[in-house]
């Protein structure tokens, strides 16, 4: 087991290195770099080339590419995610202010999506080929096909039309200071993200449940007189969840992507909106740092999922 984990960690380090290189190459291939923009803004009369040169020097963009790369990597290794060109603050400081909102939203979306996906998947499989199965499957297929922002718009329309929840848009209270108000504010993004995130899981869980319910041990459990409900939950669901766990990594990256959109839509000052803003302002270091951090979280999640998988399913040999 230790060997397996060690190897996976090592592989992940390589993956993260490739991610970092891709991020670096991606952002440095951008033709209009920040220095040009900065020099162009407000200095119409002054010699442009000189202004660009000064701005580049100040931001360290005049060095050769490989040198910028080594500096970037060196900083990453020591845990430094760079400094914003715009605000001159370290990315960590910027992120620290925004992480709580993002984590709150992300956790709520993830929980909601599983709260939707698990019952729907189980009921749909248990009542296979009845009207309720058709309805739930239709719901799952639609959830996969509908963009998260459209789900959010439809929900906003319903909420606006009937004035549900009496949502007060002004002010963004945090979970710990005023949980009730925060819940109201988050209800549309959380439900929209949850429904979008649940689609794929629902379908996979249904097909896994159907597969598992054909197994001998289910027949044995029934034969010894177990109640249906207990069979479904104790035997079927437990075994059907394993493959669902493996795609949880995919679900999580889907939720992260949806969250960027939802934060931008609902003006939630979180990591996603920060990422988008830095990108449109060509403010590379915080953008690179944030992308790297998100990838690291997703990669680590995947690793944990794989380890949990190996631990939950004794048939899997870790070599």
């Amino acid at each position: 087991m230790t060997n397996y984990i060690m190897r996976r960690v090592l592989l992940n380090v390589i993956v993260l290195w490739i991610v970092a290189t891709l991020v670096f190459l991606g952002t440095h291939a951008l033709p209009s770099d920040y220095a040009t923009r900065r020099a162009a803004a407000g200095f119409e009369q002054v010699d442009q080339t000189e202004a660009i040169r000064l701005a580049k020097k100040e931001l360290g963009l005049d060095k050769p590419l490989w040198q910028q790369y080594t500096i970037f990597m060196g900083e990453l290794v020591t845990g430094d995610l760079g400094k914003s060109y715009e605000t001159r603050r370290s990315t960590w400081a910027e992120l620290k202010e925004r992480l709580p909102a993002t984590l709150e939203l992300g956790t709520m979306i993830a929980i909601t999506s599983f709260l939707i996906a698990i019952p729907v998947g189980v009921i749909s499989a248990v009542r296979q080929n009845t009207w309720i199965d058709y309805v739930l499957r239709g719901f799952a297929i639609l959830a996969v096909a509908t963009p998260v922002f459209f789900v959010a718009i439809l929900m906003s329309l319903i909420v606006l039309k009937y004035d549900l929840f009496k949502i007060d848009i002004v002010g963004a209270p945090h979970m710990w200071s005023d949980p009730a108000a925060a819940m109201k504010l988050y209800i549309i993004p959380v439900l929209a993200g949850g429904i979008s995130g649940a689609g794929g899981t629902m379908r996979l869980l249904r097909s896994q449940m159907l597969e598992v319910m054909r197994q001998d041990y289910i027949r044995t459990a029934r034969a010894k007189g177990m109640k249906d409900r207990a069979v479904y939950i104790k035997h079927a669901l437990k075994n059907a969840m394993l493959p669902v766990l493996t795609v949880m990594g995919l679900t999580i990256s889907g939720i992260v992507g949806g969250q960027v959109i939802l934060e931008a839509m609902f003006d939630i000052d979180g990591v996603g909106r920060f990422l988008l803003r830095r990108l449109t302002e060509r403010d590379f270091p915080p953008f690179q740092g944030t992308v790297f951090l998100i990838s690291m979280v997703v990669v680590t999640m995947n690793l944990l999922v794989d380890i949990a998988y190996a631990w939950l399913d004794p048939r899997i040999k870790y070599t």
Binding site: I14, V15, L30, T146, P147, F150, I252, V260
Partner: protein, 329 residues
């Protein structure tokens, strides 16, 4: 049948096999598949509808997608002096834009905030959705097949490197990778968006193609080909590739919907192709007056969902027909 009898009557000495109605047979087969897989047939109908809309858009759009509609201002007073205008600004303009009109016979889906016909914009927007969905899929499949074939067949260090790169691409949350790629240029354009989406799909294609290649490479005919001295390239091209075409077709069809969805998200965030009319952009611009005039967002969002749904269902059906083992990937 009648045809075969006449041929036999003309030349009874030799048996000439009856001329078979190949297309009729194929249609019959298609009908059987459609009856078996009703959802897939439904998806196919949507796909044909969307494709038809995109191809025929110059003829069915009714109006230009950027043409602002306006009506003559009945209160327009050309001789008004500035003092009158200051008191009543409504008399200064000869025309008023038909903004935010509800669906009517003239404007089937209503008009947007600039008085443009939403139906025309939806029809023109379908072109971009189709071009991007299919274009990205072609790029992903072509690159993924080439790399997956070599990587799966040759194995060794090349395979290891490719697999780690694929891992790295998949470690990126899709949208974040798209943000990175789609903003490579100041002004995002269609080829770049297609390329970025194709790159995103590359990893998945490599995975699936490689898995098929691995199983095909174990076959006796591959071993036989190697035994009589075929080169690796020849084996890959003549023996392995023809036997993985089913997976390749599945990979092609299954993610078109996902690309359309991703492009809609990018456009919604304002990072899509700049000057074109896209559904994602329409949903976003409709948000400005959502509460009172929801038509633009509603129609554009519905069409995104419809297109993605159609391509997803058709892709799933094709996968179930061609390669049921890929289910759940």
């Amino acid at each position: 049948m009648a045809q075969s009898q006449t041929t036999q009557a003309a030349a009874p000495a030799v048996y000439i096999p009856p001329v078979q109605n190949v297309w009729g047979k194929r249609l019959k087969h298609l009908g059987r598949v459609a009856r078996r897989n009703k959802l897939g047939a439904f998806g196919m109908v949507i796909v044909i509808f969307i494709l038809g809309m995109a191809i025929l858009s110059p003829w069915v759009a009714r109006y230009d997608d950027n043409e602002p509609f306006q009506t003559a201002n009945p209160r327009y007073n050309p001789t008004a002096n500035p003092l009158d205008i200051a008191q009543d600004p409504g008399i200064s303009t000869p025309f008023i834009l038909d903004r935010f009109e509800a669906p009517s016979w003239d404007h089937w889906f209503g008009t947007d905030q600039f008085g443009r016909d939403i139906y025309a914009r939806i029809v023109v927007g379908s072109q971009l959705a189709v071009i991007i969905g299919i274009g990205a899929s072609i790029i992903a499949v072509a690159s993924g097949t080439a790399v997956g074939l070599i990587s799966g067949y040759l194995g060794g260090w090349f395979d290891t490197i490719i697999q780690r790169i694929v891992d790295a691409i998949q470690a990126f949350p899709g949208l974040v990778l798209l943000l990175l790629l789609a903003s490579l240029l100041d002004e995002p354009n269609i080829p770049l968006t297609v390329g970025a989406l194709g790159f995103l799909g590359f990893a998945t294609s490599v995975r699936i193609v490689r898995a098929s290649v691995l199983s095909v490479s174990q076959m006796t005919y591959v071993e036989a080909a190697r035994a009589y001295g075929s080169t690796d390239w020849r084996i890959m091209a003549r023996h392995v590739f023809p036997n993985i075409t089913a997976s390749v077709l599945v990979v092609f069809s299954i993610s078109i919907g996902a690309y359309i969805l991703a492009e809609a998200s990018l456009s919604f965030l304002g990072l899509g192709p700049g000057d074109k009319t896209t559904w994602g952009k329409m949903v976003n611009s409709g948000r400005n007056a959502l509460e009172l005039h929801p038509w633009e967002s509603l129609f554009a969002g519905t069409f995104i969902t419809l297109a993605v749904l159609g391509f997803n269902l058709a892709g799933d059906a094709l996968r179930d027909e061609l390669d049921p083992r890929l289910r759940g990937r």
